[in-house]
């Protein structure tokens, strides 16, 4: 693939490590009429890592994610994925929606296979793929259930399986766990860590929860309210390898959460 060489040239050095960049946004601005949602925002997303976009509601996180997805056009600036300029939605990116966005009239398996269906993959083939991802997200046995028969957490697993099934290099997740209950959310966060390890994919993860961002991310980009720009990039380093159970007690984890809160609190009335 010709784009990999381009991607390798745009690598950033951070301390003593260098990351290959999968997605970069350059000088993105976005106006909705008079509302300036994003202003000159530049950010790079390292390959195979999870980057969180963290910020208060209304600060433009969804807007940025949709611009990366190619669902919205930036007013100015550009997005590159694997060195190629984004002009619209593409098979290299898959989206996980905050409200799941499942087809209510379709069974779980058809929902999960829907991305492949749109690509014209034959039915038996796409259902085999869908089945394996349904198993992977822990929904085996629910293949023929309908979305309204599932809990919020299970529905989001369907949304996740659908995004995984198209095997895109970049996963865009818009507050995927905000509509599920707290216990389920914690389980999701743990599973997500495993997913980032197993899958060689780049995750861009939007959240407004500081704890969640620090828990799941290799890199947290803090966005400030409108017009949104990146105020800070934090890379938690020491606790990632300590196992899912120990992270929430780790002192670096707690320090980073405090530090982020300290910088965000003045934007919260």
């Amino acid at each position: 693939m010709p784009q990999t060489s381009a991607a390798e040239t745009s690598a950033v050095a951070e301390g003593d490590t260098t990351f290959e960049i999968a997605v970069s946004t350059r000088n993105i601005s976005k106006n909705f009429g008079d509302v300036e949602a994003l202003n000159d925002l530049s950010l790079e997303f390292p390959l195979g890592q999870l980057t969180s976009l963290l910020g208060p509601s209304g600060c433009g996180k969804t807007t940025l994610l949709k611009i990366i997805a190619g669902l919205l056009e930036p007013t100015s600036g550009e997005v590159e994925v694997n060195g190629q300029k984004v002009t619209g939605p593409g098979p290299d990116r898959a989206f996980v929606f905050q409200d799941f966005a499942l087809l209510p009239w379709a069974s779980v398996i058809r929902n999960v296979a829907f991305g492949l269906e749109l690509r014209g993959v034959a039915r038996s083939e796409r259902e085999a793929v869908a089945e394996s991802y349904i198993k992977q997200v822990g929904l085996a046995g629910f293949e023929h259930a309908y979305p309204h028969e599932l809990s919020g957490g299970m529905r989001q697993r369907v949304g996740l399986a659908r995004a995984l099934a198209v095997d895109a290099e970049v996963l865009l997740m818009d507050e995927p766990f905000s509509a599920v209950d707290e216990q389920t959310r914690r389980k999701f966060q743990e599973d997500l860590l495993g997913l980032v390890q197993d899958q060689k994919k780049t995750f861009i993860f939007v959240t407004h929860s500081i704890e969640e961002a620090v828990y799941v991310s290799d890199q947290v980009a803090i966005l400030l309210p409108r017009p949104s720009r990146v105020s800070e990039i934090i890379r938690p380093s020491s606790f990632r390898g300590k196992g899912v159970d120990n992270i929430r007690r780790d002192s670096e984890y707690l320090d980073i959460v405090d530090e982020i809160w300290a910088s965000l609190r003045r934007y919260v009335e």
């Binding site: 939605p89 989206f95 409200d99 829907f114 269906e117 309204h148 198209v166």
Partner: protein, 250 residues
Amino acid sequence: MTLLGYRLPGMSSLIIWGLLWEVVGQSGLTFFIPPLSEVVATLFSVIGTDAFQKALAETAYAFCVGVLSAICIGIPTGILMGKNRLADELLLPWVNVFLSAPLTALVPVLMVLFGFGMRAIIITTTLFAIWIIILNARAGVKQINRSLVDMARSFGASPVDAFFKVYLWAALPEILGGIRIGIIRAVKGVIIGQLLISIVGFGALFELYAANFLMGHFWAVLIVLFALAFTISEILAYLERRVSYYAAKR
């Protein structure tokens, strides 16, 4: 309704009205109202006649073709209006005008344009049914969850795929509601068209009965038509209740 403590089945009150009709008819008050028993007897003899069956067949044909065209033109138009601002602004005023317009007044114009025959009747039927079908399909598309649209786009749906795999289904409950009301209006349309044009179908039949003062026949056919229209509407209401179960779960 209850009588002496007993619950009576749904349409028992019709019995009272039927009795009243019989009494008035027997009293010979007016030739216009023959006794119900006579009407019912006529009804069974009329149903067997060639004239009636021909009228029924012609009506059914005009009705089906009219409704099908209303559905086939109305749904895509409504979906287009729901999706496309320009189309919506161009068409919506007309749709609203025609929805509330007294379409009966248009039938003479249609006769002039399309001749005194089947064609004018079919177009009348379509005109009665189509506007509400358009409006409902439009409303159905307008309420589609924004993220469902984004989902289809982000997974690479072509416009055709998006139409057949997302929009159509997402708007289905509203579309079916529109079709139900449209069909009820089409029943009116097909009968009004025939009465005004009065050369084919029941229009011709009514013309014949009225000219020969066959009031028993007239009422018999009217009862058959009312019963047919009522049955169609009830069947549709039943189907819609089944769909709205699913709609509530969206």
